[in-house]
């Protein structure tokens, strides 16, 4: 297999008529990275992938693969291969001809291309089905064939458009492990579009969270989860409560702010968010599973609210708490902790958290 290439996206935009699908994004994907473009539908992640692949023209900006600017090259000349959402296997060809398709287009002679296709089917453990048509395969098998077809060109980067969305939940988890294994063994760059944060965290070396055509955060999974950059990321990744308010001042290296219509809270700032002027709006994130109940909070690190809902989830219990200016604050606690000191619907409970669990969030400049 050929060497992995770095993908460099430089202030790329995509405009359809009057709507902007992707707005001036820049991103560097190091060689050999498993990168997940993550976001809700319509956030521009698929457009970004298709611009890297060359199936969508780039309105402005440049895409570089390795040392070559590929902005105006056709898909096949870029050294990328794309795996389509519905796999797009040719229904009229058997698996060997499907996999060998790009070699046939290049004019490689029949015996040679069929031998190479069979090698790739073997790599995907699909050689037993070589003479079948795609319609005779299950979803997972079709995906393996689609992977084999994409890999036959020895691409520097493999682009996957929601590759797991057509599979049932059980198969999804199995195929996701296979994808990760394949990427590790091939060592090439994978760019994978998904709307599932769970999938992205399980697979990615680099998660790029997108919203409204812009990148909200691009970082390692752990950083995205533990230190979300914006309120959108915190909400999209889940397991965070987002609280909004206005800054009143600083205390002990923490930003102190008033919750709209509620009490005063404090949060640890990140970089430039330190020392914000009084009156500027601020969002903070509090991990749902790091909140303690029934413990009087230290100043600015907790509040007292009314339990509005209790959901038993087996290993954990989810409480919804409503406080002054804070609607629907979620607390996840271990089932043993909950049943040791149970609370009932309508109880007023004090909630507390540690300073490092309250993170001030940034806002994108618009």
């Amino acid at each position: 297999m050929s060497k992995a290439a770095e993908i460099d996206i430089v202030s790329v935009s995509k405009v359809y008529g009057t709507t902007t699908a992707v707005e001036d994004i820049s991103l560097k994907i190091p060689p050999g990275t498993y990168c997940c473009l993550l976001g809700p539908s319509g956030c521009g992640k698929t457009s970004t992938l298709r611009m890297i692949a060359g199936h969508e023209s780039i309105s402005s900006g440049d895409v570089r693969l390795g040392n070559i600017v590929v902005t105006d090259l056709p898909p096949a000349k870029r050294g990328t291969a794309m795996m389509f959402q519905s796999y797009a296997l040719f229904p009229h060809l058997d698996l060997i001809d499907n996999v060998a398709f790009s070699l046939k287009m290049k004019g490689v002679d029949r015996e040679q291309r069929r031998a190479k296709a069979l090698d790739l089917l073997k790599l995907m453990q699909m050689e037993a089905y070589a003479t079948r048509r795609p319609a005779q395969l299950s979803g997972g098998q079709q995906q393996r064939v689609a992977l084999a077809r994409a890999l036959i060109t020895d691409p520097d980067a493999l682009l996957l458009d929601e590759p797991l969305s057509a599979l049932d939940p059980f198969l999804k988890i199995r195929m996701r492990a296979e994808l990760k294994k394949l990427q590790t063994s091939l060592g090439i760059t994978f760019v994978h579009v998904t709307h599932s944060q769970e999938e992205a965290m399980a697979l990615a070396d680099l998660i790029v969270v997108m919203n409204d055509g812009r990148i909200e955060q691009a970082a390692r999974p752990r950083e995205v989860f533990e230190r979300p950059a914006t309120a959108f990321v915190a909400r999209f990744m889940g397991a965070h409560n987002v609280i909004s308010g206005r800054v009143t001042g600083m205390r002990d290296g923490m930003v102190v702010f008033d919750v709209n219509g509620g009490g005063s809270l404090a949060a640890r700032g990140q970089g430039q968010k330190m020392g914000q002027e009084a009156g500027t709006p601020i969002d903070i994130a509090v991990r749902t599973d790091h909140v303690r109940i029934g413990e009087p909070p230290s100043p600015g690190l907790g509040f007292t609210g009314i339990v509005s809902n209790i959901e038993y989830r087996g290993a954990t219990v989810k409480l919804s708490v409503t406080g002054a200016g804070i609607d629907d604050f979620t607390v996840i606690i271990d089932d043993s902790d909950f049943f040791a000191r149970p609370v009932a619907l309508g109880d007023a409970v004090p909630l507390a958290w540690d300073p490092q669990d309250a993170i001030a969030l940034g806002r994108l400049h618009s």
């Binding site: 692949a53 898909p75 096949a76 794309m82 389509f84 040719f90 229904p91 398709f101 790009s102 046939k104």
Partner: protein
Amino acid sequence: MTVTLERPAIAAAKPARRRRLSLSAVTPYLQATPLALILGAFLLLPIIMIVVVSFWDYDFAAMYPDLLTTNYTDVLGSWVTWKTYLNTIKFAAIVWALTLFIGFWVAYFLAFHIRTTAMQMVLFLVCTVPFLTSNIIRMISWIPVLGRNGLINSTLVQMGLVPKPIEWLLYSEFAVVLAMVHLYALFMVTPIFNTLMRIDRSLVEAARDAGASGWQVLWNVIIPLAKPGMAIGTIFVVTLVMADFSTVQVMSGGQSASVALMMKNQMSLLQYPAAAANAVVLLVLVLLMVAGILRIVDIRKEL
């Protein structure tokens, strides 16, 4: 007391259940009856009558029920019949090739080069506009265009391109083929358009991703996937041309023959059994052609 009470209840329940069972067994047959009656009365019965009559005897005035094979030996033993059949097949082949070519490109243009569905539908309806008038009118309207003093000839003569009107434009095999292509091209466009619209656009992208050029995409992806539509269109066009007599008669000015025209002439001479034998032979031939097409292309996906 309870026993006597229960017994009639069970007895009453049993026939009720049986009646419901028998009704549900008959229901599918009842549902199929109307169509079976229509097809039986208007398709099967006439064909049986034709087959029966084809074995009858006849003279200049009447038909006599009989079981003769002379009608068939007359049909198959005559040099004129063979020539007419060959001529009809020749028309079918030429018209098929032309409608397939035109039909595919029209459908391809509509399906792949018109971006909006609304525009696709508008243009497709435009294709069907000529069908708002009858076959005969559309055919006859070629006469003022192609005739000796028609639009084309007078234009050519006035421009000085030809010294005298071109004779073969009208009342010739050219005119027959032209009119047939005009009449039947839509029967090719529609099924091909239908199959092309069903081709997943991501297949085209996948082919492009694999490095296929525009022609390679067309040849390796679109045409193979359009084959069922082409087969259905072919069946339409071939059966229509094989059975055509009015176009051949009008457009060739009586100079060309087709099987159906031969049958029409036999019927006007009251030779019904001979025409019936001819009809049976034509039916068998067309069915064989359709069977051949179905063997080559699997059209089940389209039905």
